[in-house]
Amino acid sequence: MFDIKDLYQEVIVDHNKNPRNFGKLEDATKTLEGFNPLCGDRLTLYIKTENDQIQDISFDGSGCAISVASASLMTDAMKGKSLEEAERLFDQFHNLITSDDELDLEQMGKLAALAGVREYPARVKCASLCWHTLHSVIEGDATPVSTE
């Protein structure tokens, strides 16, 4: 049977306790807020791009362990990526947490720690909030992202 510790893996607990890339990015070229009205999860994503490449990225805000760890892991994974690669990862991540497909966890690196979310449909929005926010930034959206 699926165990609760498969959802709250060490990586998740650690990234929640000590989120990476946490705090405002002073020279951000784009900033966007995302929130989950149901939970009250709220984050701001700061991103610095140059020539369609993510040079630096950070976030702040508050939320549950899944949303904070997800943002921490996502920002780690995004540094140095081109916007095109970022969008590809967005699709892969979406697949990781929502579909029943067989997974190539290797390819997802540390992000694979969030695979357990697929067993908890109520928590998919928590894990994907930062990703939807990033996706909107890339699309050039300026209105805050809401998961509702």
Partner: protein, 420 residues
């Protein structure tokens, strides 16, 4: 705990309240969740329904489903009779003076909106004031904000102290001849605080203001006597009182309801319609436009029969025992912090646990079969007041057991383990 094992209460209750007999009426309580017995502690969100209510709903649809107030045929007559007898039950339940004062609505939310739109728009204007509290459910905030926006009236809030009690001195300061309406919850859904509504009502009346009491959380726990309280309006929802969703009650004093314009137009609320003009139907039908939730009303009547049949005072005592038992365990959990510690409190346990987010608590508890609510409880201003984004909330009903309280605390300890 064995998966299929039913939770039987080993604690002898001080007042011979037969918990096992009660639990047998709620078949859902034998369900399992993720391989564990369901421990349903989300009663403040909605209560479970006893077989007695489910059977009455079933019978209506199987045996006499038809529209009311409009057919001469036998089924319609029967449906109308049962529907109207439910109104009588509600009247007695609240000790209202007359069935004309009992309006069926969708729930507490619609009852409040009806008062805001009908009473509010015709009695409240620029410069007037409406007073609510910092602990209201959004349904007793937003309709008044909307009304104030439309009319130019001002909305004032009675503040609360750190225990989650209304600061009555501040309330006295807010009242003036500008106050037209005071709208207060009888019991707070997020904190469990029982408010001193009798004093609130009397003070409001002293300045000529009307009072609406939101009883959504109160009716499952306490007896309500609207005449003794002397409130002008009282609202509640059927689904928190062991009845169906989609049905609720607005009580209003007869003279007030009489003076108010209709809320919605349609069938049933008229006595005569010509192309030029409509004469409205008498109370209570003036406020019940369209085909109502007939099954809901009938089910609500059955729910009231149910609570009347059990010893309601013994049930309330039993719930208090459960609350005390739970409270005695809170101190044993490191990092567990209660939000809402009013002296007068019902069986609602709102809490935070270390810095673990309530949604994570909710997921981990659910994994053990324990259903609680995690979030802002539709009361974001309270969360703001306590500087927290959300709480976890366990809320007990008279069918819960001491063993279920133990299961709750076992699961809470599991949370602390996961987050080490």
């Amino acid at each position: 705990m064995n998966n299929s094992e039913k939770i039987i209460d080993a604690f002898p209750s001080s007042n011979d309240f037969d918990i096992n007999k009660i639990r047998a009426d709620f078949s859902i309580l034998t369900e399992t969740v993720k391989g564990n017995p369901l421990v349903y502690l989300d009663n403040a969100a909605t209560s479970q329904k006893p077989t007695q209510v489910i059977e009455v709903l079933d019978q209506y649809y199987r045996e006499y489903n038809s529209n009311i107030h409009r057919g001469v045929h036998s089924l319609s007559q029967k449906a109308t009779d049962v529907y109207e007898s439910a109104r009588d039950k509600v009247k007695n339940f609240l000790n209202a003076n007359s069935t004309k004062e009992i309006i069926f609505v969708r729930g507490a939310t619609e009852g409040i909106n009806l008062v805001a739109q009908s009473f509010g728009l015709s009695n409240i204007s620029e410069g007037d004031e409406v007073i609510i509290t910092e602990m209201e459910h959004h349904s007793n905030i937003v309709p008044w904000q909307m009304l104030c926006e439309t009319t130019g009236a001002t909305l004032k809030f009675i503040p609360i102290n750190d225990a989650g009690e209304l600061i009555m001195e501040e309330y006295a300061q807010l009242l003036s001849d500008k106050t037209k309406l005071v709208a207060v919850s009888h019991i707070s859904n997020a904190l469990g605080t029982i408010n001193p509504i009798k004093t609130i009502i009397d003070k409001a009346h002293a300045v000529g203001a009307k009072v609406l009491i939101d009883g959504a959380q109160a009716v499952p726990h306490t007896r309500v006597d609207v005449q003794k309280l002397d409130c002008d309006f009282y609202v509640f929802s059927g689904h928190k009182l062991f009845g169906p969703t989609g049905i609720g009650v607005l009580y209003g004093k007869h003279a007030l309801l009489e003076s108010m314009p209709p809320y919605q137009g349609g069938g049933d609320m008229i006595s005569m319609v010509t192309m030029e003009k409509t004469a409205y139907n008498a109370l209570p039908h003036k406020f019940e436009a369209g085909t109502p939730h007939i099954a809901g009303v009938i089910g609500l009547g059955a729910a009231i029969d149910y609570v009347n049949a059990i010893d309601f005072d013994a049930a309330a005592n039993y719930e208090n025992e459960l609350l005390d038992y739970a409270l005695s365990k809170v101190d044993q959990v490191e990092g567990m912090n209660l939000v809402g510690t009013a002296k007068e409190k019902t069986s609602i346990l709102s809490f935070t646990l270390d810095s673990i987010h309530p949604h994570d608590i909710g997921t981990i508890l659910d994994d053990q079969g324990v259903a609680i609510r995690a979030g802002h409880h539709c009361a974001m201003p309270i969360m703001e007041r306590f500087c927290i984004p959300a709480t976890a909330r366990a809320s007990f009903a008279f069918y819960n057991t001491h063993a279920e309280v133990d299961a709750l605390f076992d699961a809470i300890n599991q949370c602390r383990e996961v987050f080490g």
